[in-house]
Each structure stands twice: as structure tokens, then as C-alpha cells.
């Protein structure tokens, strides 16, 4: 930003960062905006298809089990609320890691990054279990064993959208965990101490919060309504 000796233009004088954030952070925001449009397109497409069909499976009948539960247990919303809270908590530890980074507190950054990574892995494990469970029940792309809520035959739209959208979100969680692990290693190698700032942690944090944000929408659209 110190090198900004731009010719004066009518729209912006230059010489000063217009948004008062670092370049990489601004680009992360723009990337997240484009990603929001991708997820938005998926979810709107799901909504459109759901509105254009007469019946739809009842999520409380489909997502009704949790690990180590006896066969045929009816516990809707229980497992997915555990997943939701895991992601919220890992988002909170990420905020604390960013805060520790702003205070140049390496020890606290390491501690909170480890907790965030554990949260991410826990979420992915939950999702892997759920996918595995649904797969055993006969659900997969192109296969839908669940009837509509009114007992009529359903199409494969339900499972196709469920696996595509939660899969795309799970892939984001996975890459978020990888990014967080890289950030943890860089912190341990004192890379940020040498740079004099922990802005990379903030950028990773933006991505991680975005993953949590998308889950808020996915959770509502697939499990609640």
C-alpha cells in the first residue's frame, strides 16, 4: 500500500487504501461474495424445484438417527443440532484466534487454531457418518428410498440436491480445515511474528466464518423447513 503512487483520477485520488483493509483481505471478501452466489444459486435452484413439485419428503422422517442409537430410533433434528453447535463453537474459537493474532499473542493463536481445527474435523466426521448412514438406507445421487410426506412416490430431486449441496459445503469445510492447518503450521514456524502481523489468520478466519454462514442456510433449508 505504501507503493500506491497512482496518477490522480476523477473517481479516486489514490495514495491511500480506499477501504482501509489489506489487499488480500479485500480479495478474500470478493472471493467469498462470488462463493455466496454459487451457494445461493444451488439453494435457489433447490427451492425452485421444491416449489414446482407436488410432494416432498419430510426431513424429520429422513434425518432421524444419530450414532450409536438403536435401529429404528426416531430422533429428528437431534444429530443435526449437534453438528450446528459444533460449527458455531469452532467459529467462536476462530474469532478468538483472530483476536489473539491482533494482540500478537502467538500462544493463544496456536491454542485457538487447534480448537478450530478440532471443531472442523468433528463436523466433517459427523457429516461422514450421516452420509454413510443415508447411503446404507439406500439414498444416494439418483436413488431416493424416502416417500413424500403425504405417502406418494417421490423423485430423486430430494437426494440429488441434498448430497450435492451438503457435499459442496462439506468440501468447503474440508478445505477450510486444510487452510487452518497451514495457518497453524505457519504460526508455529514464527512466520507471522517475522512479518509483524497476523493478517493471514484474519483471512483464514473470514473463510471459516463463511463456511459457518453457509451452514446456517443449508441447515435451515434442508433440515428445518
Amino acid at each position: 500500500m505504501s507503493t500506491a503512487t497512482v496518477e490522480t483520477t476523477k473517481s479516486w485520488g489514490g495514495g491511500k487504501s480506499p477501504f482501509n483493509v489489506e489487499y488480500g483481505k479485500l480479495m478474500m471478501w470478493y472471493f467469498l461474495m462470488s462463493d455466496a452466489f454459487t451457494f445461493g444459486a444451488f439453494l435457489i435452484s433447490y427451492g425452485t424445484i421444491r416449489f414446482s413439485t407436488n410432494g416432498w419428503p419430510d426431513p424429520n422422517e429422513v434425518f432421524r438417527s444419530f450414532p450409536f442409537a438403536p435401529e429404528g430410533v426416531h430422533a429428528p433434528l437431534v444429530f443435526v443440532s449437534v453438528m450446528t453447535f459444533i460449527l458455531i463453537v469452532s467459529s467462536v474459537t476462530m474469532v478468538l484466534a483472530v483476536k489473539a493474532g491482533q494482540e500478537m499473542d502467538k500462544k493463544a493463536v496456536v491454542k485457538y487454531m487447534i480448537w478450530t481445527i478440532i471443531g472442523g474435523i468433528a463436523f466433517l466426521s459427523c457429516q461422514a457418518w450421516e452420509w454413510n448412514h443415508l447411503h446404507h438406507e439406500g439414498a444416494w445421487w439418483g436413488r431416493n428410498p424416502f416417500l413424500n410426506a403425504d405417502g406418494t412416490a417421490s423423485s430423486t430431486n430430494f437426494t440429488n440436491y441434498f448430497f450435492t449441496i451438503t457435499g459442496f459445503h462439506g468440501f468447503h469445510v474440508f478445505s477450510g480445515v486444510i487452510i487452518n492447518i497451514i495457518m497453524l503450521i505457519m504460526t508455529l514456524l514464527d512466520k507471522f511474528e517475522q512479518r509483524g502481523h497476523y493478517l493471514m489468520i484474519e483471512k483464514a478466519g473470514l473463510y471459516w466464518h463463511f463456511v459457518d454462514l453457509v451452514w446456517v442456510f443449508v441447515f435451515t433449508c434442508f433440515y428445518l423447513i
Binding site: 407436488n54 422422517e61 474469532v95 403425504d150 405417502g151 406418494t152 466464518h209 446456517v216
Partner: protein, 154 residues
Amino acid sequence: MSHTAQHEESHGAGEVKKVTIILSVLTIIELILGFWMMDIHNVGMRLAIKGSIVILMMAKAFYIVAYFMHLKHELKNLIMTIVVPLGLFIWFIIAFLYDGNSFRNLRNTYDPYFKERATIKVEKKEEGHGEAAHEAVADTTAHASDTAAVENKH
């Protein structure tokens, strides 16, 4: 790098705690509404609950973006460059959901097979997974009266 905003950023652990509590409470209210909705078969009431869940979802999204992602404390220019393009979603959602709904109504009117298929109940599957499958069928019949009411409207 000039990070004058950095000093404002330490709004303290108090804010983090507050937002965490708000997000947890909103999630719990959503779940309570979700559990409550399972026993309600009135179509209008279900729609009202779904609407409230969506409003709570938007509130959660606001708290995550504004406080966790820190957008609220950025410069107004930055806020606008992010939020204004996302305003397109308002139009996307209205237009596409309206389109989907219209497509269903058209098919129900002009496609007898489409309409008929939505009224035929599937017999219990023999290849199902024992009790679990049978229970599911038994449960779904309870919802039948509710959806029949919907069909009458169209």
C-alpha cells in the same frame, strides 16, 4: 501498512461472548420451532412457522457477517461493495420461487399424469428395512390429511 482500524477492532471479548449467546439462543429457538412444527398439520400455521424460521436464519446470518466477519466495523465503502451486489438475491429468490410455483400450477392444470401421480399413495415396500420402513409409512399417513387440504386449494 496502515491499520488504523485495527485499534478499534478490540471491541473486547464481551462482544464475542454476546454474539455467541445470541447465535446459540437463535439456534435453540429455531430448533424449538422445528420440533413444534412436527405436530402441526395446519398448512397456514406451518407456513407461518417456516417464515419465522427464515427470519431467525437471516438474523443469524447478520450476526455472523457483522460481528464474526467483522463487516460492521469496516468502512462504509467496503460494506456497500459487499452488501449491495448481494441485494440481487432478493430478486433471485422472489423470481425463481414464483417461477417454480407457477410451473407446478401449470402442470397440475394441463398435465393429468403429473396431477394424478401426486394423489397415488405408495404401498408399503417389502424390500424396506424392517420396522424402520413400516414406521415411516405409518407416520407419513398422518400427514396425508394435511396435504390433501393443499391439493384442494389448487
